[in-house]
């Protein structure tokens, strides 16, 4: 089955963030917030998980947003409109829990993690919730989908580490303020592992602030995405073993043992670098920069 790329855009002007529309009618039909796909670009390729950031059931299209961090994402960024990906499997993972809450929901997207926030905000808003969104990144160029997020949020807060847009500092700064001055029913945080860890700590009730139920999206290293390999596993604080692909990817942030998980995610670092460098060298002659 051909999985054609229908659209490709660069997001911001950092050169590392891309948005792609893929023609996958069956997946589009079943996709919900929280679901992801696993793609393989070519015969030698890895299976890499990417969140379904938007879906259009009528036209059979799903949208992915990705950041170039290594070989596979760089290779993906080199694919163009009309090209076909070798494999796409999904929708994997569970749909997020949808409920109408009393108080507002805070949804936090860090960097490329902004994209998966969109369908979650959209579906939760459709269920009658009030959404406060916080978008964070290192700098202004890495923030995207401002309008899309605004369209599903009652309030949109932007923060950048360097202060080039919105509040200067980490996403936890506005979050701290929000939960100290008003009742929040739920926090959702999607972004770098370290950001999710900090958010979960802030809302744990141990920081002099009220405890707020918090979901994080665990982007662990995966292979099959169906519970078969255990590669995606993460420990909870009570030492139990969980599989992010079948239990998540959205997980109660207060049970996750982030310290162990942060270390687990480094286990292939040397190989990832080798693979990336090799590919970079190969591309050099095509490089326009």
């Amino acid at each position: 089955m051909p999985y054609k790329i229908l659209k490709k855009n660069q997001l911001g002007d950092s050169g590392t963030l891309f948005e792609m529309d893929l023609h996958t009618p069956l997946i589009a039909k079943k996709a919900y917030a929280g679901n992801f796909i696993i793609i393989r670009i070519n015969e030698e390729g890895e299976r890499i998980p990417l969140t379904i950031a938007d879906y259009d059931r009528e036209n059979g299209v799903i949208t992915i947003v990705f950041q170039v961090v290594g070989k596979s994402t760089l290779l993906l960024s080199h694919q163009n409109i009309g090209d076909e990906l070798l494999d796409i499997a999904g929708p994997l993972g569970n749909r997020i829990h949808i409920e109408k809450f009393e108080d507002p929901i805070v949804i936090i997207g860090g960097g490329v993690g902004i994209a998966p926030c969109y369908p979650q905000a959209k579906e939760l808003k459709q269920a009658g919730n009030r959404i406060i969104s916080i978008l964070g990144a290192r700098t202004k160029n890495l923030i995207f989908w401002r309008d899309k997020m605004a369209s599903v949020s009652e309030e949109l807060i932007i923060c950048t580490n360097d202060g080039s847009e919105g509040i200067e500092g980490f996403v936890t700064k506005p979050l701290r303020e929000l939960i100290s001055k008003q009742k929040i029913s739920l926090v959702i945080a999607i972004g770098p592992m370290i950001m999710m860890k900090n958010v979960a700590e802030l809302t744990s009730g141990n920081e002099g602030l009220p405890r707020v139920k918090t979901f994080v999206s665990l982007n662990t290293i995966m292979i099959d995405g169906t519970g078969m390999c255990g590669g995606c596993r993460f420990p909870s604080k009570d030492g139990e073993i969980h599989f992010a692909c079948v239990e998540g990817p959205d997980i109660d942030g207060h049970i996750v043992d982030f310290n162990i998980l942060l270390n687990r995610e480094k286990r292939f670092a040397e190989f990832e670098k080798q693979s990336y460098d090799l590919y970079k060298k190969k591309c050099k002659k095509f490089d326009t920069q």
Binding site: I27, L86, D87, L92, T226, C229, R267, F268
Partner: protein, 463 residues
């Protein structure tokens, strides 16, 4: 005749083969096959046939080899078993047909598995594969979920009954454990792919990347016109005991280790993108085929030392005997009667040692094997860079969860009658998702029985 010694397959030399992924056993030559075929006594009441889970007419195909009629020999096997090149390589013959062979009472049994393999390889090498006879197409659509040996066999038989069969496979490749579990040096993937091509010859369609229960469920398939369903999704979920240190880097499941190497070809990194990390000393926990395969893959990836830690003894090991001998020849070290109690790591969170406790054997347990009992205060340390956990698998709930009324056992396996029928009309199942981890041949047998009942069911209802 009994004085002729049992022929032994040629093999790659251990010192060479531990550096490559090419097949270890090289098969019989024509002469060897002919000599071995003469050893068969052609019993009037052949016990071997009963020992075979799919009752291949063993004396018949061996007689045909003896007569030099290999074409008829392969036809005769295929009447019972459509995957002989695979079964000849991976069946545990020593506890099936060959154990029942009358010669085994006083001498060595006929090398039935090697002969089966010989005929199948001959057919493939000479490209003599024939499209089996099929009944006229009846245009009734049947869905087969999973392309392991159970699904492949069921699909082939259904196609021969004239049905319009589509296999839905979760992965991007077919074959199930044959593709992602059993390594290249024991079962070349070329053979698995070849069998899948044969299915296509029969008109079977295969759709990859189709995780049923996610992208489509049974209800969707019904809407698409499928009238019956065979579930052969295997027992893919790795068992993981909660042992302290389990989350250290370097501790991984055999499924992850084998999938990375076999399916994703990590042994060809960086030509292929998927990496694998092993280090110098590897320990493997378990005593089955999965443990042995993991150990031997680790060796070929460049490990200096590989130690299998098993809580019972050599006698109780469920692995195929031939593979155990191969592993010993290759220098794999075995520590029997030992069980891990914890994994220990360095300051970077990488495993570097494991603590094991010595065991002794007690009374037989539910499995009929003696129960291993820990010996108090007998703990000792093994240094290691990687630990591979191969202590079994459980039912994968992804599909079964999507069929709420499907009757399951308390362990999550599908309940079926002896003909593979579930409690739901039009839904059949077989293979590891029914029995728990078993064998290729038992999965095939189940696929075959289910195909028969699906045929009966659909004929009585629609034809």
């Amino acid at each position: 005749m009994v004085k002729i010694p049992r022929q032994k397959m040629r093999e790659q030399d251990p010192s060479e083969r531990i550096h490559n992924f090419s097949e270890v056993a090289l098969g019989f030559t024509k002469e060897m096959a002919e000599i071995e075929a003469q050893r068969c006594l052609q019993c009037g009441d052949p016990k071997c046939v009963n020992g075979c889970p799919v009752n291949i007419d063993i004396p018949n195909f061996i007689r045909l080899i003896k007569e030099g009629n290999l074409l008829e020999a392969i036809r005769s096997i295929k009447d019972y078993n459509i995957l002989p090149a695979i079964c000849g390589r991976v069946c545990p013959q020593e506890i099936q047909c060959e154990e029942a062979c009358i010669l085994s009472k006083r001498w060595e049994p006929v090398a039935i598995g090697s002969l089966e393999r010989y005929v199948a390889d001959w057919e493939r090498r000479n490209q003599l594969k024939e499209c089996p006879d099929c009944e006229a197409p009846n245009n009734i659509k049947v869905a087969v979920i999973g392309s392991g040996p159970a699904g492949l066999t069921c699909a082939a038989d259904l196609a021969r009954f004239g049905f319009d069969v589509t296999i839905f496979e979760a992965f991007h490749k077919g074959g199930g454990v044959l593709a992602y579990g059993i390594p290249e040096f024991r079962l070349p993937k070329e053979i698995v792919n070849d069998e899948i091509e044969t299915l296509k010859m029969l008109g079977v369609k295969i759709k990859y990347n189709m995780i049923i229960g996610k992208i489509l469920n049974i209800e969707d398939l019904k809407e698409m016109g499928f009238k019956a369903f065979f579930i052969g999704v295997g027992a893919g979920l790795p068992s993981m005991r909660k042992i302290p240190g389990m989350n250290l880097n370097g501790v991984l499941t055999a499924n992850e280790f084998l999938t990375r190497t076999n399916l994703m070809k990590a042994y060809k990194f960086p030509e292929y993108d998927t990496p694998i990390k092993i280090g110098k000393i590897i320990t493997v926990i378990g005593g089955g085929n999965v443990a042995l395969d993991s150990a031997r893959v680790a060796l070929r990836l460049g490990a200096e030392k590989v130690i299998i830690v098993y809580r019972r003894t050599e006698v109780e090991m469920p692995a195929r005997k031939e593979e155990y001998h191969h592993a010993v020849e290759e220098g794999i070290e075995f520590q029997f009667l030992a069980n891990p109690t914890k994994f220990l790591g360095d300051d970077k969170g990488n495993v570097n040692r494991m603590e094991v406790i010595k065991m002794k054997l007690g009374e037989p347990d539910a499995s009929g094997r003696p129960r291993p009992i820990p010996i108090e205060n007998s703990e000792y340390i093994i240094n290691c860079d990687t630990v591979i956990i191969a202590i079994g698998t459980n039912a994968n709930p992804v599909l079964t969860k999507s069929i709420p009324d499907l009757k399951l056992t308390k362990w999550g396996y599908i309940e079926v009658d002896e003909m593979g029928k579930t409690n739901l009309e039009s839904v059949f199942a077989g293979g590891d998702i029914v029995t728990g981890s078993a064998t290729v041949i038992s999965a095939m047998g189940a696929g075959r029985r289910a195909a028969k009942s699906i045929n009966q069911y659909l004929r009585s209802k629609y034809l």
